[in-house]
Amino acid sequence: MSAGTQVHANLTEEQVREISGDLDEPEWLLETRLEALEALEDLDMPDVIRTPGRDWTNLHELDFESLVDPLNAAENKDQVGPDEVEVLPWSEAVAEHEGLLQEHFGSIIDPQENYLTALSTALFSTGTVVYVPEGVDAEDVTIRTEQNSRSLFNYTLVVAEESSSVTILERQSTGAEQDEQYYSGIVEVAAGENSNVQYGSLQNLSEEAYNFALKRGDADTYATIDWIEVNLGTQLTKSGVSTELNGDSSETQIVGAFYGHNDQHFDLDAKVWHRAEHTTADLVTRGVTDDVARSVYEGVQDVGKDAWDTSSYQRENTLMLSDESEADASPKLIIKNHDTEASHSATVGQIDQEDLLYMTSRGVDPRSARNMLVEGFFVPVLEEIAVDELREDLEELIGARLSKRE
């Protein structure tokens, strides 16, 4: 079934025109939105993994008609950064940097890539543009979004010019809690020659919420894009983080952490496309599943025909804290150039009983011992997180979640 029938019935061109008009957008942007709206009818949901007899994630069950309320977006937003960088709300970016938007908007993620990207393109009402001029080093760009409405569509564009460097920390949370909410976030990162972009994301939405997130970067020559992707909230998250290494000697790191409990379902993917020579990728994800939570992980390392001298590594480890949880993983290698060193490894298991025994024999009570081991499990990922604030927040949130365990 084409997914497009689900929500299309209560979406109108007028709504899209109104959103675009409120933001004072130019005609070309409105056209892009309208085209995305029209495409909904023919577009499918994002790909999910299928194995004999089952889809790993069922997006078709989502009742978009009741979840999406396009004209009632409400949020509480912080968009701050140091002076030498421009951190602009969408409407300001439209007014001040139309050329920049025209060049980059939709250039990395096709607005019509799938049903959910098109929905997001047609309806987004809030967003941030981070513009880092040539040679500028900027730390501490913060984008905090608190969702206060049934649905919220967010768009983020990062443009880092030649030899610039920027660290961005994005957080999503839920304010006045509603029963069910839908949060959709698209992030495009254009990393110019020799630039360095670090983009950390901490998703801690309400556990009644549904989340679709797609982040993708395009790395030019000698550029580095590092992602940190933390997922803690929502009842269903479909999140993708990826980098296209289009410039020679570009690099990327994707660090992922998740902790699913209750009946949370995380469908997470990390993908890298090696398209140029001497490119390097390192993908590290660690996560916990507890209660009846389910994690689905797909990791793709795609080495193209022209990607000579590639290094590509991937590790994924899931710790299962309960029998009722499920941890699915599919780490894939697609290699078309033989001048490649590529490897991946994935493990799923429980807390090591010997470690537990050792600790309890040293006088640690079993519950504390268990919690310490879970915290210890995240250490290899925490070590990779260079943003202190994000690392500390994550540690705290893991601790808080563990302390809630029975």
């Binding site: 993994i49 299928r50 194995t51 004999p52 790993w56 025909k305 899931t318 299962m320 804290l321 309960s322 029998d323 009722e324 949880s325 499920e326 941890a327 699915d328 993983a329 599919s330 780490p331 894939k332 290698l333 697609i334 290699i335 078309k336 150039n337 033989h338 001048d339 490649t340 060193e341 590529a342 490897s343 991946h344 490894s345 994935a346 493990t347 799923v348 298991g349 429980q350």
Partner: protein
């Protein structure tokens, strides 16, 4: 998994009474895979009605199933025209012959045999003259040796007539039902030949049971069925010796292998396949393992235009064990999509998968594997290791494992590496006096050693030589 009962319900039993013998000429002029063709095959084999019913039921299922299309990165099957393939069977069934003479074999195949130094008996069998007779002899020797212990080893067609109860119970019922996939259904409709192995309780068959490549003589060997039943506490090693390219204009091989491993039983199934390079090799192989039983798959996949083959083990009883050791070699124009599937459905089950692949001259290899650990299969463990070796920049090597873990008390590990032949290794060997080609051969021989050491020496030698020949590029 569907039960036999379900399959039977779908059978159109009335069709049986409307059966009317067609004249051969009329059959020959028909188009595609039809009920008449199936009836003719069955009649030609003098099969009991129940087998004909199963064939017709499978045919219906086949007709109602779509071709697989939506697997990520699956081989291109668009050139596969089943309507063109099946009619080939009919004259063959009628004439009961394939190639009559060694000399009629294509040059490259004869050449391969000569270079391999294939055992004389096998060569005779392959040459076509009385191939059926030769294979009967092979079976007969086995029978004499083991028959007093109750071991049965015979052609699958004969088994249908001589051991109907055993076959009726196990043939495409619980292990590989025709409903499993399009090609299993096709196989169920047109299957012919293959081996039937039955090992009674507590009997150990000490020497490997070998089935030579005898299907050429019937021209329908493309659809052979192998059924192995190892009762409680028994042990057997079955080797399919189709270690040479199959002759012919056939372009579809769709075999079926079903293995029943009883409690505490141990079955090893080894095969080295090297199909002609116009062959689509689309098989379904599956084993069901009871408590403390062990299943071992050892396979080398060479040749073919496209192969889709993922031997599957269902670990049904507590403590059951599975081992997969596979090697795939893809040269020019070849897409070898192979892997392994393991379902851990009981506690304390374990599996290991070791997969090696080599791609060269634009060939593609893919490891596509599924490990499923069901809720309740506690204290199960699985370890998957895939290594891929790439020779050049025309080739492709992919790894697509899927892990579904529903139980926490498990130990699941997957590892994969891809790399080119190490320049340093070659340099080292060259510095010891080997030329470039020999150095590469030596590295490959070392790379595939885990496979060859699992095979009886003559097969190991054969596999090594086949790979050497591929590397020389001396064969089309």
């Amino acid at each position: 998994m569907s039960s036999d009962q379900d399959h039977l319900k779908e059978t159109d039993t009335e069709a049986r009474f409307e059966f009317k013998k067609e004249e051969n000429s009329a059959v020959r002029s028909g188009k595609g895979l039809t009920e008449e063709v199936i009836r003719m095959i069955s009649e030609d084999k003098d099969e009991p009605d129940w087998m004909l019913e199963r064939r017709l039921r499978a045919l219906k299922q086949y007709q109602n199933m779509p071709m697989p299309t939506d697997w990520p990165g699956m081989p291109d099957l668009s050139e596969l025209d089943i309507e063109e393939i099946v009619p080939y069977i009919r004259p063959d069934v009628d004439k009961r012959e394939g190639v009559d003479d060694w000399e009629e074999l294509p040059e490259d195949i004869k050449d391969t045999f000569d270079k391999l130094g294939i055992p004389e008996a096998e060569k005779n069998a392959l040459s076509g003259v009385g191939a059926q007779y030769e294979s009967e002899v092979v079976y007969q020797n086995m029978q004499e040796q083991w028959e007093e212990k109750g071991v049965i080893f015979m052609n699958m067609d004969e088994a249908v007539r001589e051991h109907p109860e055993l076959v009726k119970e196990h043939f495409m019922t619980s292990c590989v039902p025709p409903s499993d996939n399009k090609f299993a259904a096709l196989h169920g409709a047109v299957w012919s030949g293959g081996s039937f192995v039955y090992v009674p309780e507590d009997v150990t068959v000490e020497m490997p049971v070998q089935a030579y490549f005898r299907m050429n003589s019937e021209g329908m060997g493309q659809f052979e069925h192998t059924l192995i039943i190892a009762e409680e506490g028994s042990e057997v090693h079955y080797i399919e010796g189709c270690s040479a390219p199959k002759y012919g204009t056939h372009n579809l091989h769709s075999g079926g292998v079903e293995v029943f491993v009883g409690e505490d039983a141990h079955v090893q199934y080894s095969t080295v396949q090297n199909w002609s390079k116009n062959t689509f090799n689309l098989n379904t192989k599956r084993a069901i393992v009871e408590a403390n039983g062990t299943m071992e798959w050892v396979s080398g996949s060479m040749g073919s235009k496209a192969t889709m083959l993922y031997p599957c083990t269902i670990l049904k009883g507590r403590g059951a064990t599975d081992t997969h050791i596979t090697i795939a070699f893809a040269g020019e124009g070849q897409d070898i999509d192979t892997g392994a599937k393991v379902y851990h459905n009981a506690p304390e089950t374990s599996s290991t998968i070791e997969s090696k692949s080599i791609s060269k001259d634009g060939g593609r290899t893919n490891y596509r594997g599924l490990v499923h650990i069901a809720d309740g299969a506690e204290n199960s463990s699985t370890a998957v290791e895939c290594d891929a070796l790439m020779f050049d920049n025309e080739s492709t090597s992919d790894t697509m494992p899927y892990m579904e873990i529903e139980e926490s008390k498990v130990d699941v590990a997957h590892e994969a590496t891809v790399g080119k032949i190490g320049d340093e290794d070659i340099f080292y060997l060259q510095s010891r006096g080997l030329d470039d080609d020999d150095a590469k051969k030596m590295i490959v021989a070392g790379f595939i050693e885990p496979i060859t050491e699992e095979l009886p020496i003559e097969y190991a030698v054969e596999l090594n030589r086949l790979i050497e020949l591929e590397m020389e590029g001396s064969l089309g």
